[in-house]
Symmetry: C2
Subunit: 361 residues, 2 copies
Amino acid sequence: MAESTPVRFGILGCANIARKVSRAIALAPNATISAVGSRSIEKATAYAKENGYASTTKIYGSYEAVLDDPEVDAVYVPLPTSLHVKWAVLAAQKKKHVLLEKPVALNVKELDVILEECESNGVQYMDATMWMHHPRTAKMKEFLSDSQRFGQLKSVHSTFAYLGDTEFLENNIRVKSDLDALGALGDAGWYSIRAILWTSDYELPKTVTALRDPEFNEAGVILSCGASLSWKDGRVATFYCSFLANIAMDIVASGSKGNLRVHDFVVPFQENVAPFYTVEGSWIGELATSIHPAPSEHQVNTDLPQEALMVKEFSNLVGSIKGEGSKPEKKWPTISRKTQLVVDAVKASIEKGFEPVEIIY
Amino acid sequence: MAESTPVRFGILGCANIARKVSRAIALAPNATISAVGSRSIEKATAYAKENGYASTTKIYGSYEAVLDDPEVDAVYVPLPTSLHVKWAVLAAQKKKHVLLEKPVALNVKELDVILEECESNGVQYMDATMWMHHPRTAKMKEFLSDSQRFGQLKSVHSTFAYLGDTEFLENNIRVKSDLDALGALGDAGWYSIRAILWTSDYELPKTVTALRDPEFNEAGVILSCGASLSWKDGRVATFYCSFLANIAMDIVASGSKGNLRVHDFVVPFQENVAPFYTVEGSWIGELATSIHPAPSEHQVNTDLPQEALMVKEFSNLVGSIKGEGSKPEKKWPTISRKTQLVVDAVKASIEKGFEPVEIIY
């Protein structure tokens, strides 16, 4: 597909996060918003206006209508998690490529239904984990993959937290058992789990053990939790995710030869430049009174925000499938499924009284 | 005691770490090295010369001789952990104040013997956890204690690791089951556990659970391990300690209102100035495309290195006891014992197949 034929997106629903992704689609050079659908046509109309959609954008009063539109190539699905399996499956059956918000499913069984449908219909699947697409992520991976600089991964810790206010903790879909039943684990833990798997070259841990005493709301939805992951080779990972702490987005990775640190991995402090920190070959000074060298700061510029790069990458894949008959890229469903497997294992461990849960792939 | 009457230290043994503490005693305004003892008088003589001890320093061919010297007020004990209980107890019985290297004992039962002997003999006890005495530590604590800036502690992670070379991993006392049987847990984990307790205002966790799959040497000594700690109020802590990873000395603490990060908490990168990072009241920018504010760097200067401040603080306490008949300061044995209790719990959890261990205080 030539760059002059952009991938035409349909947006399912008027979620707040869809405003960010709508802007990203507008910014991406190979994508355009073709349609938006909501259960209420008034809501969709207002939403299109508020978000500066082109006047040519089709406005529908149902999700089905978006899926039935032959001028929609791909859908972005920011619906509550409990609705993902229904709408992602229908989209795939209608041959729409699927960019799916996380958490992608309530469990891997549901996700497998989605992934199988995408595969059998030959459509691209990608979860909307935006930070994967920031050029900083590739730069950090270069460091982690360098056997001379970072060496072998020994330990990684990730935190993703933000502080929900009273309104959020009472009314947000992320704390509703019928909408996003995975709570903070699905919403924030998803990122930390992805970060840990990313650091580990997506090798699944052998065992996942939830940290004791997570916090729940009255409906039993997780508001904060954590887990430890182990790989049987001495490698360990831990994470903490929460709706009850100030914003923290950390990855702290220890290798045999170096360390990587980043403190804004999910959403960079600034949109156009993002920092990370490395140190390698550290040594202790005379009389053990100092440590050398101090960590180095790296700043990675980006012309497009990470969510636009995500749309661009997704649209490139869709373009290749449409234009050149390529097969869907398997990397994205594969790492999405691995992330979900770990999410499920943490949840299972919590339910089993913090017993270790083995991951069966 | 007037400042003109410095506390007279006896050094037991010629450990490498004693070189650092000898310099610290020389730097502290209220301390002096009065004697050094080794099992070999030749070794002690050479050591005194190499380390620039004053010609008036008494050189002894045994530890007993140091303890019998009436011109020794206090001893610094850098012997292998397995010898601590014998020599710290003897020192206390001879009315010498005790500055004890960590890990202070092989278990809390041994430590209690030491602490009881120190208490009944009215001598000051302090463990040689140097970073406690850096002015940065007090500045960081100010932030953590500020209910408006940091809020309530929700999560803390600490890593302390360094890479042992072949010589270290084969011959260092820290990997010998008859000398420092706690291995990396006692040597490196001690600091991370102390950091976690310090962050938690020394409130002991309810439960300690070792991370699965620590690494051991052939003699069964721990080379890397970790644990999670929980407090029953949703607060969690995790740590990783290792002889098998590049130097890392991290504390990453999440509060309900702010975050604290430090990456060289055990030994600062530089001797005379040490950084830490805070952020508070974070908020998400328009469309969730940026996070504000970026963390602030704080630099804390110190006129004396942290180990000299430790000697100064210890000597102040000893001076008050000697000169003014004060009672020994209980803070130091109390936090030492709590640290040991958590070390013991991690070890017990490892031995019990990573079962949770309740801390009984």
